[in-house]
Structures are given as structure tokens and as C-alpha cells.
């Protein structure tokens, strides 16, 4: 490896400290109480990294940079203030595409001006290692960008969530990926521009093609995966620039994305490869929904629901994706407050993949000021359903489906689910009968004797129940 001129010791120390701040930022997230301090560590770390870089560079272009930071910062700040909590999945996807694009731009800049990065000899010939890292970094960045843009469009509803299945897509994708790798290998021998730009272009294209066939609801796994890749790309750049902060960050982000993808796949009992291969999810429900509607089921009104809950000692609220769609979190919180005022114990049960991204429901409930010590994870609450008088399921479906425990042929078989059926009464709030949900399958619970269906929009239904409680 060619050694670049070593930076002064204090600079390397500063980058190390920045890296440690990032570790502490994630460490803070081990509990809500410490999380805010953690986030501040993250900001401090970033300030140290940026400040150090500014101090050691020639300050000729400092004005332009200050303006660039101000523009970007203002936009970011504005978006962060305005975004609705229900739009978090889209926002993460959008921010994510920016990281990808920035990585491509940095790679391109390094390619055009390698001397500034200290990765080329005096003749302008880029070092072998750096060519490799640059090629991989740009390719991963480009895939992250175009993939995240598609993810954003699908999650935001600008594009149908339906998987779009190009014929022979696996062959096509593998072909392009192979071409990219081959070109990067060639690039280590010949640093001609056409190779660099072809790699970039192909990577943009393959990011697009890879994500298009994946259903909208699988996007969170995709985003985590891309997040993980971009972490490894940052680490690769850290190797090139011998920057500890980047290496540590890369490893943290890489692990985080990989672990979240793993957690999601495990909680959905799906194979990671089958998610990435695509073709699942989206709006597949429509067909399946029609079949089973002729089974008898009980319809309830807001009044019935209010009566049942008032009589109860323990009510467990089970929110799901529909809560986010309906933005019903505030109404639900109000409902819970009224019940508590009448002496009913209220708890919330959160399935690890309720909603559309990890921790989705927790954020929404927190937004509605639900104290986090009333909110329980699956393992901690599942044994309590047997003691509950009412399980109030609002906008959740798959995560309550007992087929996951009993029916080996079900696509969700083996996924851990909430045992809502053990409660004395089950109330289901959703807009229609049948298997309208992520997995698109029917739920036997709708037709059970102790179940009452409350058909309607989640928010409206919760508000009506509140009226009946008052």
C-alpha cells in the first residue's frame, strides 16, 4: 500500500474522538432516557470531524463551503421540522438517496482531482488500492441513490407499490452487476474516464432495476440493506483517506443496516434473499380478499366498543400499519386516557414489525405523548392477553394472525405473532373485511365468536368511541 503523507497527530486524534462520539451516539439509544444525550454526542462528533477538516485544508474556498453548508443545512432543518411522523419511512429513504448521491459526487471529485486527496503520485496516476476503493465506493453510492429514490417514490405513493416484474430480470441484473465488477477490475489497470463513467452509469441503472421488482411494503428491508452497503462504502473511503472517524462510522452504519434487515426478516419469518429477489408485498391483497367474505362475522359499533372497554379491567391496545395510515395515534391516546380515568388498566402491545419500519409504532405513540413505560414488546406482553378483557386491535392484521402459529401453508407461518385471540374480547378496527394487509392473507380471527369488527377509518372510529366514552 502506498502511504500518503501522515496527517499531524492532533488531527488523527480529533478524528478518533469524532468516531468515539458516534459510538456514544448509538450507545445512547439503548434507552429513551439516554437517547437525547446520545444524539448530542452525534452532533458533537460531526462538528469535530467537519471542523478538523476545515482547519487543515487551504482556506481559499471557505466562503463557498460555508454557503454550501448553510444552504444544505437550512433545507435539512426545514424538512426535519415540517415532516409528519407518519412519513418517517419516506423521509429515511429520501435522506438515504442523498447520502448515496453525495458519495458518488465525492468519488467523482476524487477521480478528477486525486492529488487533493493524496491518492495519486505526482504524475496523476491513482494508486491501485484507491482505484479499487473508489470504483466500489462510486458503484455502491450510485446503487444506493437510485435504489433509495425508487424506495422513496413507492413509500410516498408517487409510484404504485406493486412489484414491477421485468422479464428475465435476474439474468439482466446479474449481467449488469458482473459488468460493473469487471469494469472496476479493469479500472485498476487503466484509469480512463470512460470506464469510470460507465461504471457510474451502470450502477445507477442496476440500482433502479434491482428495486423496481420489490413490493412497496418490503422497502424498509431494502432501505436498511442499502444503508448497510453505504456504511461499508464509507468505511472503504475511510481506508483511502486513513480517516478513523469514517472507518468507525462505516462499521457502525454497516452493522446497523445489516442487523435491522436481519431483525425485520426474522420477525417476518422471511428469507433475506427472497425479499431481495422481489415480487412479494405491494397491493397483492385485492384478489385474496374476495374469497372468504361469505363466512359469518360480527359487526360492532363504536357504542358497543365503548361499553365493552368501560367494563374491562385490562385493555391491551394493538396498533398496526393502519394506525399510521389513519393518523389515529392522538385519538387512541385520548381513548386510553378516558379509560384510565375510569380505572381501566391500559397497555400497548407492539409487534417488532408492526407498521412499515422497525420502531414505527413506537414513534407514533411517542408523538401522541403515550408514556413509553406503558408500551410493551411482544415477549413482555404476550402472556398477558389471557388476562385481558379487551384486545383493541387498530389497523393491525398480519401481526395478530394465528395462522402464523398453526397453518403451515400460510406465507407468514413461523412468524411470531401477538396472542390477541386469548383476550376475552377482541375488537378489530379496519376499513373492510378480508385479507387487506401486507401479506394479503385473510385472518381467521375476524370470524371468531369473541371478535367484533369495527369497520371504518381508524381515526374516525377511535374518535367516535371517545365520544361514547365521554
Amino acid at each position: 500500500m502506498h502511504e500518503t503523507a501522515a496527517a499531524p497527530a492532533w488531527v488523527m486524534l480529533a478524528y478518533l474522538i469524532a468516531g468515539i462520539c458516534f459510538i456514544l451516539a448509538l450507545r445512547g439509544l439503548s434507552s429513551p432516557a439516554t437517547s437525547r444525550r446520545g444524539n448530542r454526542y452525534g452532533m458533537i462528533g460531526m462538528a469535530i470531524a467537519v471542523g478538523t477538516t476545515l482547519v487543515i485544508q487551504e482556506i481559499a474556498g471557505l466562503w463557498e463551503v460555508a454557503i454550501a453548508i448553510a444552504i444544505g443545512g437550512a433545507i435539512g432543518f426545514f424538512i426535519a421540522r415540517r415532516i409528519a411522523m407518519t412519513a418517517m419511512p419516506q423521509l429515511v429513504a429520501a435522506f438515504h438517496s442523498l447520502v448515496g448521491l453525495a458519495a458518488v459526487l465525492v468519488g467523482a471529485a476524487a477521480y478528477l482531482n486525486p492529488l487533493a486527496f493524496g491518492i495519486a503520485d505526482a504524475a496523476g496516476s491513482i494508486y491501485f488500492n484507491s482505484r479499487l476503493e473508489m470504483g466500489l465506493g462510486v458503484a455502491i453510492g450510485a446503487i444506493t441513490f437510485s435504489g433509495s429514490v425508487i424506495a422513496f417514490l413507492k413509500l410516498n405513493g408517487n409510484m404504485s407499490g406493486k412489484p414491477i416484474l421485468v422479464p428475465a430480470r435476474h439474468v439482466l441484473n446479474f449481467g449488469i452487476l458482473f459488468a460493473i465488477l469487471a469494469l472496476i477490475a479493469y479500472f485498476t489497470q487503466d484509469q480512463s474516464p470512460w470506464i469510470f463513467w460507465t461504471v457510474t452509469g451502470l450502477a445507477f441503472a442496476v440500482g433502479f432495476l434491482l428495486i423496481i421488482p420489490i413490493g412497496g411494503a418490503d422497502m424498509p428491508v431494502v432501505i436498511s440493506m442499502l444503508n448497510s452497503y453505504s456504511g461499508w462504502a464509507a468505511a472503504a473511503m475511510g481506508f483511502t483517506l486513513q480517516n478513523t472517524a469514517m472507518i468507525i462510522t462505516g462499521a457502525l452504519v454497516g452493522s446497523s443496516g445489516a442487523i435491522l434487515s436481519y431483525i425485520m426478516c426474522r420477525a417476518m419469518n422471511r428469507n433475506f434473499l427472497s425479499v431481495i429477489a422481489g415480487g412479494f408485498g405491494g397491493d397483492a391483497a385485492a384478489g385474496a380478499a374476495e374469497a372468504a367474505i361469505d363466512r359469518p362475522w360480527k359487526r360492532g359499533s363504536a357504542e358497543d366498543a365503548a361499553f365493552l372497554m368501560q367494563q374491562a379491567e385490562l385493555v391491551i391496545i394493538v396498533p398496526g400499519y393502519g394506525l399510521a395510515v389513519a393518523q389515529a395515534q392522538h385519538a387512541v391516546r385520548e381513548l386510553a386516557d378516558l379509560l384510565k380515568a375510569e380505572g381501566v388498566t391500559v397497555k400497548y402491545a407492539i409487534h417488532p414489525v408492526a407498521g412499515r419500519m422497525p420502531g414505527h409504532m413506537n414513534v407514533l405513540l411517542a408523538e401522541a405523548n403515550v408514556p413509553y413505560d406503558e408500551v410493551f414488546e411482544l415477549e413482555d406482553i404476550n402472556s398477558e392477553f389471557a388476562r385481558a378483557d379487551v384486545a383493541f386491535v387498530i389497523g393491525a392484521n398480519d401481526v395478530t394472525n394465528p395462522a402464523a402459529k398453526t397453518d403451515k401453508s400460510s406465507p407468514i407461518y413461523g412468524m411470531p405473532v401477538l396472542d390477541v385471540e386469548k383476550a376475552k374480547n377482541v375488537l378489530f378496527v379496519k376499513r373492510s373485511m378480508g385479507g387487506v394487509g401486507y401479506a394479503g392473507i385473510d385472518n381467521d380471527l375476524f370470524y371468531r365468536d369473541n371478535t367484533m369488527m369495527l369497520l371504518g377509518d381508524g381515526k374516525k372510529m377511535a374518535e367516535e368511541i371517545v365520544k361514547n366514552l365521554g
Binding site: A102, T249, P352, A366
Partner: protein
Amino acid sequence: MDFISILSIFVLSCFVGYYVVWSVTPALHTPLMSVTNAISSVIVVGALIAALAAAVPAAKWLGLAAVVLASVNIFGGFAVTARMLAMYKKKER
């Protein structure tokens, strides 16, 4: 820094990443996604190097564009995380 040092730092960082992410409580997985988003913008360091080097104008402009994008992410990511985390409260007693 020689290659082995960097490799050692990377390998140990992977261990730290593994443990630190598994110790994040599931209730905070959404803030985890947004904060990793923010910190992965540490590539702004590369963008700054490009933006501050005047020699090649095209590279400089690419660098400046990257600085803008990364800044959106940094400020947006930390701010939205802070906003989310501010909502997680214990029951007042």
C-alpha cells in the same frame, strides 16, 4: 497509519458496531435509522476536501454539490432524530 493498523481499527469497529446496535432498544429503531443516516454523512469530510481544493474546477463544483447534499442529511438527520427523541417520555408521576 499503516494498512494493518487501519485494518485493526476497522475489525474492532465492526465488533463495537455489532454490540452497540444490538443493544439499541427496539422502541428506538426508527431514530436509529435516522441517526445512522446522519452520521453516515461523515463522507462530508471527503466532500470538503474536494470543495476546498481549487486546482480542478469540475472537482471543486462536484465537491460543493456533495457538501450541500451531505449538509441536508446532517442537519436534517440530527434534527429529525432530536424531534423524535424529544417525544419519548416516561409517565409523569
